[in-house]
Structure formats: structure tokens, C-alpha cells
């Protein structure tokens, strides 16, 4: 059984433009390869029609939102992949180094864990007892005070655009 979904070009262009503006406003970058990125944006729109949400075009979605939460674009793995590889899994988003042509992107390994071990299967809770450590490190931007709980600080502060070196471990 197969299906055919056609997305009008103007719809692809409109989302491409909006995602680009949103990315730039929060310290991220879309892949500057226009043809590549356009193809991915089209894939996002196809998946939105299929599933009702923009699942990653380069991953096989289950079609049940709860199971696919971690791969709805931007996925839970984008930021660690940007740090380690310079691009997210599908390469819709790329790092500063890639934008400055200091690094080339490639097809990267899948970081998503197997079902049952995904972020939605084991939510990170705040500590409940005094003295208990948080489930994730908390990072603080020394420039603007922005706090975030994640394995590593973001490449660029989404609020004030300070680089990752300006973050300190807060908790």
C-alpha cells in the first residue's frame, strides 16, 4: 500500500522562510544548501499531513504522537548532534562552524535510543529531597542569566546569543 502526498511549492517556501527566521532569532542556523533544506522542509510538511505533526523526515515515525515526541522537529537530539557533528541527524540544522565553512557535514550515526529508553519514557524530574542532585546539569549564561537543564550548554545562548564558553555549571 502506498500513498501520494503533494505539497504546493509556495507552502514549502513559506515554511522554509519561517523556520529560517525562527532559527536565526534563537541562535540556530538552517542548512545553507537550499535544495537540500527545501527537500527536508517538504518532508516535514508531508509528515505533518500524514501524522498531524512534523516528525523528522529522516526517521521512521510510529504515527502515534506519544511515541514520536522525541523526533518531532526540532528533535530532542538536535543540540547534542550540533555540538558533536555540526549538524542534526537529518541536517536541517547546522552549527556556526558549518556556516563558516570550517566544518563539513556528513551523514551521522543515529543517537536516538531504542523504544523504552527515550526521553518521553523517562522524564527528567526536578529533585524532590533537599541535597538531591537534579536529573540533568543546570547551566547558566553568565551574560544574561539564562538557565537551562541539559547535558551540555547550548552552542549559543538563545536569549542573548553569547557563545557556549560563556556558560557555567550552575547546579
Amino acid at each position: 500500500m502506498s500513498e501520494e502526498i503533494t505539497i504546493p511549492p509556495e507552502k514549502i517556501d513559506a515554511l522554509h522562510k519561517r523556520l529560517d527566521q525562527e532559527a536565526e532569532a534563537s541562535g540556530y542556523h538552517l542548512n545553507p544548501d537550499q535544495e537540500f533544506t527545501r527537500g527536508l522542509v517538504e518532508g516535514l510538511l508531508v509528515n505533518e499531513q500524514r501524522y498531524g505533526y512534523r516528525a523528522c523526515p529522516c526517521r521512521l515515525a510510529a504515527g502515534e504522537k506519544q511515541k514520536d515526541l522525541d523526533i518531532i522537529c526540532p528533535c530532542d537530539y538536535r543540540d547534542p548532534d550540533l555540538l558533536d557533528w555540526g549538524a542534526c541527524y537529518c541536517a536541517l540544522y547546522v552549527s556556526d562552524e558549518v556556516m563558516q565553512e570550517k566544518r563539513e557535514i556528513q551523514s551521522i550515526p543515529e543517537r536516538r535510543p531504542p523504544e523504552g529508553e527515550r526521553p518521553q519514557d523517562q522524564p527528567a524530574r526536578a529533585p524532590e529531597q533537599p541535597g538531591e542532585r537534579p536529573a540533568l546539569p543546570v547551566w547558566r549564561c553568565r551574560v544574561c542569566g539564562y538557565l537551562c537543564a541539559r547535558e551540555k550548554p547550548p552552542g549559543v545562548c538563545p536569549i542573548c546569543k553569547a557563545k557556549k564558553e560563556r556558560f557555567e555549571r550552575f547546579w
Binding site: M1, S2, E3, E4, F36, G39, L40, E42, G43, L44, V46, N47, P57, C58, R59, L60, A61, C90, A91, Q106, S107, I108, P109, E110, R112, P114
Partner: protein
Amino acid sequence: MTESKGSIQGSKNEHRIMFYGLSTCIWCKRTRQFLENQGLSFDFVYVDLFHGQEREELVAEIRQWNPAISFPTIVVDNKQCVVGYKPDELKEALGL
């Protein structure tokens, strides 16, 4: 239009090549283009265009080679598998 599965007849038939991809994935598109540009014969299937039992069977096939079920997965001669857009690895696996 993306066909859900089929065969490409190229001039090179020395290997049996099975390409598992997603119709929305651009790395899959590049990989397929690479195989076509090399003039290789291969079978292809786009797993996202299948549902229910048919999809489960395809996923079970891929799992034997690539437990992460990631795409593209290319199986050569039912012996080895290359995951992702990896022209150099494919060349080596296919003796190109």
C-alpha cells in the same frame, strides 16, 4: 512521484543490492542517486510508504542488519550492510 518499491536496472549487476529508505529523507535520496550514478542494478523500498503488517515485515528485515532501524540501510549480497550516505563505504563494499 516516489514509487514505494521497485528495481533499477543498471549496467553493473555483480552484486545484489537492497536499498531501504524513507521517501522524505534527503540522505536517502543522495544515496539512491549515488547508486544510480554508478550504474548499479538494485532493488529499493521506501518503508514510510507501507503500513501495518507490510511495514512490520520490512522493519524486521532491516533490524537483522541495522538494529537502530535507521535510513538509508543498504544490504549488499545479503552479507554486509552500509548505513547512511557513505559513498566511500559503498564503493568498498561494491568493489568500485
